[in-house]
């Protein structure tokens, strides 16, 4: 009975309490991430099978990718995730300033990642690696190489879309932290955004070997 008495601060009317709302929000975020696992999973499924059928083309295409930018980006995105993780832990203590700093730093690293990715894409397109009629490649199994680059753009573009959404969410956290909204009993938006931000990290961590390392 007591669960349904007048809601306290920060709880919407359908929830009994702030903790109730927090748990629901985090459960919702995890469920959303489960759908994302299946979404990217379908892409990896295609990647594994096509790679098996076109080992040569994928091998040759991997050699044309920019290993330096890819590796730097992997380091950047892992760092961004860990910086935000530190912010999450501070948020649980109700400290707004570290959250603000972490969000700004992490979001900034995210922007650097996106910038490098855009530069890498322009480089790739300059090398004729844009799928479709304009695609250029040398050597055997052009079909396989073409497929690699299609999967490359599909994977990286969808990842950058997620990154962009992530940067916006992180900026939103920074804005709320600047207003001093987080308290020891109200911090779940930081955790929820942190979950999403880490998941974007996980996606890249798994794209990286498939794009740059396998068969190099």
């Amino acid at each position: 009975m007591s669960e349904f008495v007048a809601p306290r601060a920060h709880a919407e009317f359908q929830y009994a309490s702030a903790e109730h709302q927090r748990d629901s929000a985090l459960a919702g975020m995890w469920l959303f991430l489960a759908t994302e696992i299946l979404f990217f999973g379908a892409l990896f499924y295609l990647w594994v099978l096509l790679r098996r059928w076109h080992p040569l083309g994928f091998h040759l295409a991997t050699a044309d990718t920019d290993l330096l930018i890819g590796s730097v980006n992997t380091v950047i995105i892992s760092t961004a995730g860990m910086v935000f993780f530190w912010g999450v832990q501070q948020a649980k203590r109700g400290q707004n300033r570290p959250v603000l700093l972490a969000a700004l730093a992490s979001g900034g690293l995210g922007l650097v990642f996106i910038g490098l990715k855009l530069f890498e894409w322009s480089e790739d397109v300059g090398k004729g690696k844009w799928p479709g009629q304009v695609f250029q490649a040398h050597g055997d199994d052009i079909g396989g190489q073409h497929l690699f680059w299609l999967l490359y753009y599909a994977g990286t573009a969808l990842h950058v879309v997620h990154m962009t959404i992530g940067v916006l969410l992180v900026a939103w956290i920074a804005w709320r932290a600047r207003k001093g909204e987080f308290k020891p009993n109200f911090y779940y938006p930081v955790v929820a955004v942190g979950l999403y931000w880490s998941f974007v990290d996980v996606v890249w961590i798994n794209l990286y070997p498939f794009i740059y390392l396998l068969g190099r």
Binding site: L26, T35, Y45, V48, L213, L214
Partner: protein, 101 residues
């Protein structure tokens, strides 16, 4: 600085970060030495670390654990397990798809 280091939050974060960087360096090195085949497995290991530490899955509420495990189960057993049954046991007789560039 010392005060910062004594903060367990900072310690966990830094340690995890270093482990992740070491794994990146490891998979990169392996690939350059011609053992790129291990890289996806290193990727999976890194993903597991991110799930465990920054995403705090082990201490998450039960509902969250169920959802995350459902996602992984469906990915591994359904999509990759059953989904690769046909493609990997098929004996294709391709005609000449390479004829068109």
């Amino acid at each position: 600085m010392k005060a910062l280091w004594s903060d367990p939050a900072v310690r966990t974060t830094l340690k995890t970060w270093l482990v992740l960087l070491a794994l990146v360096a490891g998979e990169l090195g392996a690939a350059l030495l011609g053992a790129g085949i291990v890289a996806p497995f290193v990727g999976i290991a890194m993903a597991a670390i991110v799930f465990a530490i920054p995403m705090e899955l082990p201490s998450a509420p039960n509902a969250a654990k169920i959802f995350a495990l459902a996602g992984l189960f469906w990915l591994v057993v359904m999509l990759f397990g059953l989904g690769t049954l046909d493609p990997l046991t098929r004996h294709d007789q391709p005609t000449h798809f390479l004829s068109q560039p």
